[in-house]
């Protein structure tokens, strides 16, 4: 019995694919992100969000809402990172400030290389 059921159950679970090995990615160009705006970029198989605060500072976070995994966006009218699915708000530092999100967004390191904005995973 086990010889039949076990292979079937294992077949149902998808094989683990290796995550993207690169820990840095070019998120965009300087002129793409004016102050008080944001941009979604691909980081491996996930989405990240690059924002430029109203004071001109660059910040980058995981774009996956910590509530139920919708992709967040930057709202320039209130200078918040916002999740449309359940009305979750984060400040420009990625901290959850209102709505259901239980945790802050994962933060990445941002540095500017020439005209390119490079985002890197923080080393734990």
């Amino acid at each position: 019995m086990g010889a039949i059921v076990y292979p079937m159950l294992r077949f149902l679970i998808p094989p683990k694919l290796p995550e993207a090995t690169s820990s840095t990615v070019v998120a965009g160009n300087l002129d793409e992100v004016p102050p008080n705006s944001g941009k979604i970029f691909r980081f491996g198989d996930k989405a990240g969000i690059l924002i430029r605060t109203p004071t001109g500072e660059f910040k980058a976070f995981s774009a996956t809402c910590t509530h139920l995994s919708c992709t967040v966006q930057y709202r320039s009218d209130i200078s918040h990172i916002w999740c449309a699915c359940h009305n979750g708000h984060y400040d420009v530092n990625g901290k959850n400030i209102s709505g259901p999100p239980p945790r802050p967004l994962e933060e990445f390191t941002v540095f500017v290389r020439g005209k390119e904005i490079v985002v890197a995973k923080k080393i734990a």
Binding site: L12, I13, P14, L17, I40, F41, R42, D45, K46, A47, A63, H67, L68, S69, C70, T71, V72, Q73, C83, A84, C85, H86, N87, N96, G99, P100, P101, P102
Partner: protein, 359 residues
């Protein structure tokens, strides 16, 4: 005369091989009580009719649909713009799905309030509750198949909810998504659930459900004695012909809705786009969606979303065990607290759904 003889011969030939007379007797012995709540008896048949529409239109859509992230959206677009009457078939499939879920809800609550689950119909109720869950499963899996933006995020949130369940959440998330993210692998899985796993399961449970309905006949409401006594109506052909009339009417409404308000396709899913503002799941999930929206990040020692999910899980488990919880109904007495809880659930669903659209 000749034709009559021929038909009789065919009937006898079949009867010798299949015991057709027994099937006929089973059909003929069923009667339908007549009282002021008789109208609710039509809902089961109506749901079955809409389910048949789903099967027929679903098979037609299968001829052109392509279940991959690269081609799904384009294939539905092709069905709607190039295939003759493709827009109509797809629109009927979507409208009928929604109407079916609506009649399933009505059927469930009418059976609940008429207390038709009491002995000996406990298994009829339980099989019905599973048919209700499977209907929601059909809605959830079918919603993703056009691979549009709304469906993409609805699936992301829906599968994430399954992932929050303690202990088995991680496994469930991987199992449903076919990976860590909602992707083409999820679409293929949902397609398999929608056109193979769920139809097979629903057929088995539906056969049991219909057999039990046929075996036990229609239930009478508890306070039947106070109702105007009327002779029972034979199910076949009297009630059945009324059923057919209702189905014809439903088909007319369905075609009118599908033609006047064709089901929209929306924009193709883009995993890198943010969730659109005003995003909502299908109407029958809105009450759960809105509840999760209202819950704070933390409730006591657990995350708000987990508390909400546990609440709905308990509610669904209680739904299955209703016949065993309402002990008074078996004694022929209506339990006031039980009816009150039922109305509270109805009010909760209605208010949360309404708020979901207003806020």
């Amino acid at each position: 005369m000749k034709i009559d003889n021929r038909l009789r011969q065919i009937y006898q030939w079949l009867d010798e091989r299949t015991d057709l007379k027994k099937v006929q007797a089973l059909l003929l012995h069923k009667t339908v009580p007549q009282h002021k709540h008789t109208v609710w008896y039509y809902l089961g048949g109506m749901t079955l009719f809409l389910f048949t529409v789903q099967v027929v239109t679903g098979i037609l859509l299968l001829l052109y649909y392509r279940p991959s992230a690269e081609q799904a959206f384009e294939s539905v677009q092709f069905i709607m713009t190039e295939v003759k009457f493709g827009w109509l078939v797809r629109s009927i499939h979507s409208w009928s799905a929604n109407l079916m879920i609506f009649t399933v809800f009505l059927h469930l609550f009418s059976v609940f309030f008429l207390k038709a689950y009491r002995k000996p119909r406990e298994l009829t109720w339980i099989s019905g509750a599973f048919l209700f869950f499977i209907s929601l499963g059909f809605g959830f899996t079918g919603y993703l198949l056009p691979w549009n933006k709304l469906a993409y995020f609805a699936t992301k949130v829906g599968t994430e909810i399954a992932g929050v369940i303690p202990l088995i959440g991680g496994f469930l998330l991987d199992f449903l998504r076919g990976g860590t993210e909602v992707s083409g692998a999820t679409l293929t899985r949902f397609f398999a659930f929608h056109v193979a796993v769920l139809p097979m399961t629903v057929t088995l449970i539906l056969v049991l459900h219909l057999y039990l309905v046929q075996k036990h006949g229609m239930s009478r409401p508890l306070n039947d004695s106070t109702l105007r006594p009327l002779p029972d109506m034979p199910f076949f052909p009297n009630f059945f012909l009324r059923d057919v009339l209702g189905w014809t009417l439903a088909l007319g409404i369905l075609v009118a809705l599908a033609s006047i308000f064709p089901w929209e396709l929306g924009e193709k899913a883009d995993p890198l786009a943010p969730a659109p503002a005003g995003i909502k799941p299908e109407w029958y999930f809105v009450f759960m969606f809105q509840t999760l929206k209202f819950l704070p990040a933390k409730i006591l020692f657990m995350e708000g979303e987990l508390a909400g999910i546990l609440f709905f899980t308990v509610l669904f488990i209680l739904l299955i065990f209703v016949p065993f919880l309402d002990k008074k109904a078996n004694l022929g007495v209506s339990s006031k607290p039980f009816v009150t809880v039922g109305w509270m659930v109805v009010a909760f669903i209605l208010i949360m759904t309404l708020l979901g659209y207003l806020l």
